[in-house]
Symmetry: C2
């Protein structure tokens, strides 16, 4: 078994108790998307595979610290240790941890390498389109939120309450994701995912009003 | 305040602690849809309004009895008492409770009057289309289910477990809803909601595979 396969199995074990919107399935989807984009963009696919697999291994630390620990920073630290254990050299480790450190939406650290841009895009693309819609409603269900209320005072609605909704997430965040995408292939995928998502929420409003 | 407005307020109070896929919002959406369809079908809109408002007031009894009590039967009983209190005559009460008794998908009692068919359609239409997709994921989130697994053994997946999913609900139930719709206007609405739902789940599968 090569080192990448071993690390893949380790990540499956690390993320096996992760639930909700950043579970193992999210990581596997991001990996597939990152490989698809990375191939089109001529990026190093080993760096991409390892960065995608390891990008969310710091999530539990962020959740357990109530957000005080940044999962991107912590994930890069944990990844460094894990990659050293598997015999990767410092140059390679630096390239992979750069991707992990900079994949976060709200971080001040921005992706510089093509591999980091690919991981950033793959992670963001998983929050829009049909997958993004499903994740937004699933999360709403997890926190006991309502199905929909297009007339609510969105900017002042509290997250993680029953007045939260997938529509709130869409209005405040998801509809702007497309603008942040960095690579050409990422932009192409984002365009189609964004359009479908806009169509979905427009349709939802009209269905709820009993029009269609 | 007329009797219908008074009953509307009473229903808002009865359903105020209902959560999830059969909350007050569901009843309000069914009311809007039933009025839209009822108007096109030339049905009695007072019967429709009262039947739609009252159709799920037996839900809590079904939930509390772990499904032993049928919410449609119980709802009709509760509705009878409530309508008598507000001075409706027995002929009218019989027409309204017939709608409530027969609105359930799995019931042996089938809608006979046009008003009962309209309520049946409105209730079923709220489980497909963009609303149906949102409700399926919201419910999955509430029971701690996963986002998606198209390769799972759908017929043998257990509901209300983490291996449950919105896709399971779609494969086993939602994609067949269209065939049960009874009125012409209901069929027209179902066609468009069904098509959008099929497009959504096809797209979800392709996105999850990293293709689009």
């Amino acid at each position: 078994m090569d080192a990448v396969t071993k690390i893949h199995k380790e990540v499956q074990s690390i993320l096996s108790d992760s639930r909700g919107s950043h579970d193992l399935d999210h990581t596997e989807r991001v990996l597939k998307l990152a490989l698809h984009i990375g191939e089109k963009e001529g990026a190093d696919l080993t760096i991409i595979t390892l960065a995608a697999l390891l990008h969310d291994i710091g999530r539990n630390c962020e959740d357990d610290s109530n957000g005080k620990i940044c999962h991107a920073e912590k994930g890069a630290e944990l990844a460094k240790t894990l990659l050293e254990k598997h015999g990767f050299d410092q140059v390679m480790i630096e390239k992979i941890t750069h991707c992990i450190k900079t994949h976060r939406f709200r971080n001040n650290k921005h992706p510089q390498s093509i591999e980091a841009k690919v991981l950033f895009d793959a992670d963001k693309l998983d929050s829009i389109g049909a997958v993004g819609i499903g994740r937004a409603f699933l999360f709403a269900g997890e926190v006991g939120a309502i199905l929909h209320n297009k007339d609510s005072d969105i900017p002042n609605t509290k997250p993680y309450t029953k007045d939260d909704s997938a529509y709130r997430e869409y209005m405040l965040k998801l509809r702007y994701v497309k603008q942040r995408i960095m690579t050409d292939e990422g932009k192409r995928l984002a365009e189609s995912r964004h359009e479908f998502m806009v169509e979905f929420f427009n349709r939802l409003n009209r269905e709820v009003d009993g029009e269609i």
